[in-house]
Symmetry: C2
């Protein structure tokens, strides 16, 4: 069972293992229709989560900070989710790969939430939790493919067994580099420096969106911005790629229009929802700020050209 929005990779891994996944969506705050809100203001309904548990349920998958909203879950939300796992005897797989890239400053519309490892909340929750960490992601080097999972011995045993057979190990030199990185990070205050730097990049891209009148979910943590598309006016009679037309929804059409006409590449918001909740994502696109300063300047110039297609709000 997964909390959405999130990457669809897990869905296919669960299918490969013969399981099925049920999604419980995060929803935008009541009354939010056009303005900028924070990802932290999106909420999961804990009752809905509990009602989705069946006797077949084995695991709840949680992504915190969350992709693509970048929501950082509060201690009380995490306690509620953790206690559900304890009460129902479920494994909690907590994907916390961006735990160290939470922005320090409070945005005007946002509650500032520090990141909490759910496994730290109580010994009972810890006994049910596997925490996934990505060193590659924390060091802004996703492609290095180095990470680890921590958890109690009995939950780790099948993880180790499966990992040994499927992946065996990640790249040795990249592991060595990450060991040095971990050793040096505290000494040179890398974690907070990097969080500030990532925050500045994301802020720069948000500023670009503000200028041309696009609203978005203000991200409280690393790299991604969920953009609202309700006021992007697509030209009438525009010719889309057949695949885009077959998907039908507005988010796919806007993505195609942006990449094809302006060289701005996004991911349709509905990609982050399962089939039953797709409609929740159709008014959004995911944009990434993981670019150089030059790249972000180029993005600003390209978005400037999108302005004629944006209706004032």
């Amino acid at each position: 069972m997964g909390t959405q929005t999130q990457s669809n990779r897990y869905e296919y891994q669960i299918k490969l293992a013969g399981g099925t996944i049920r999604y419980v969506p995060l929803r935008s705050p009541e009354g939010e229709s056009t303005g900028c809100v924070s990802g932290n203001d999106w909420n999961i309904d804990i009752e809905e989560l509990e009602q989705a548990i069946t006797p077949q349920t084995k695991m709840i998958y949680l992504n915190n900070p969350h992709n693509p909203l970048r929501k950082v879950f509060t201690r009380s939300e995490l306690t509620a989710i953790g206690n559900l796992c304890v009460a129902h005897g479920l494994v909690l797989l907590s994907d916390e790969v961006y735990e160290r890239i939470v922005f320090p400053s409070e945005s005007p519309t946002s509650r500032n939430v520090p990141h909490t490892r759910v496994a730290s909340l109580s010994p009972e929750i810890a006994a049910h939790t596997l925490t996934a960490i990505s060193l590659a992601k924390l060091f802004n080097a996703t492609g290095w493919r180095v990470g680890f999972i921590v958890g109690p011995e009995e939950l780790m045993r099948p993880v180790i067994g499966t990992h040994l057979v499927l992946a065996y190990s990640s790249s040795g030199p990249a592991q060595d580099a990450c060991v040095v990185g971990l050793r040096e990070a505290e000494r040179i205050d890398w974690w907070s420096t990097n969080a500030r730097d990532v925050g500045a990049r994301v802020g720069k891209l948000c500023h670009t969106l503000d200028k041309i009148g696009l609203t978005y979910v203000a991200p409280p943590s690393a790299w991604f911005i969920f953009i609202r598309i309700h006021n992007i006016m697509l030209p009438e009679g525009y010719k889309y790629f057949p695949l885009v037309v077959s998907h039908g929804s507005q988010d796919w059409k806007v993505c195609y229009f942006l990449v094809h006409e302006f060289g701005i590449s996004c991911i349709p918001g509905s990609c982050f929802y399962g089939p039953e909740n797709k409609a929740l994502g159709e008014q959004y696109l995911r944009l990434g700020a993981c670019k150089s300063d030059d790249g972000l300047d180029l993005a600003a110039r390209r978005f400037e050209r999108v302005r004629p297609y944006i209706r004032d709000i």
Copy 2:
């Protein structure tokens, strides 16, 4: 269905996917009891292989050059195996990760067999074959975890789908390094230079074994030597680790004795056979020559100390 001896990783992968594996062993040549033979003289019985095929069989797994015998299969052996797959509609997964580290010179006891990609033998065989290549292994950098699989589109589709979900990608920097490696290898004649260098290291270790009176399967390709243990005399009343005693067989005991008393680390030969053929491996250990010159000199000094436990043959 797998041709043995071989690594047990495949067995567990097949089990994870809900399948079962049947092994068809390679056997030492008739009359070989004490002397050194070549890995190329070990044979697979093609009739036995065909008889092991059932209506449930989906795939034959072949390792060429073979681990740990280092046998390089002949064109006629490969043609027979490939044609079996064509006749029975099976996928042939040909693990050829050491294809470029085949020794150039003929050993006294060996037929010199050049490596042939089984998929190159006929269009029909190619249509049934997936060929696995490891760039990391070819560049003596196993821990870099870079490799690829080639095959016809319809066989590759499930490979790509599964890879994307389970591994997604290998380390980016290591991939970049391998691209440079491939580009430079031809220019600086790396493939044959490296095969000669690996051959020299293996030869040095074989010479150490010759000097103290241990016989072995002379390896026609990279890195590993299958040592015979029939004339290693273990001290009476020697105390083994409980795990070793529970495995019971002589190969486990000799391995423990060698690592514990002399710091020589090997793998028991029976580890390379499935349960039904374990006895075929119990008279062997696998030793690796993937060491620096200093490491090989140290090995020579340590093996010298083993001599009192070796009976003349």
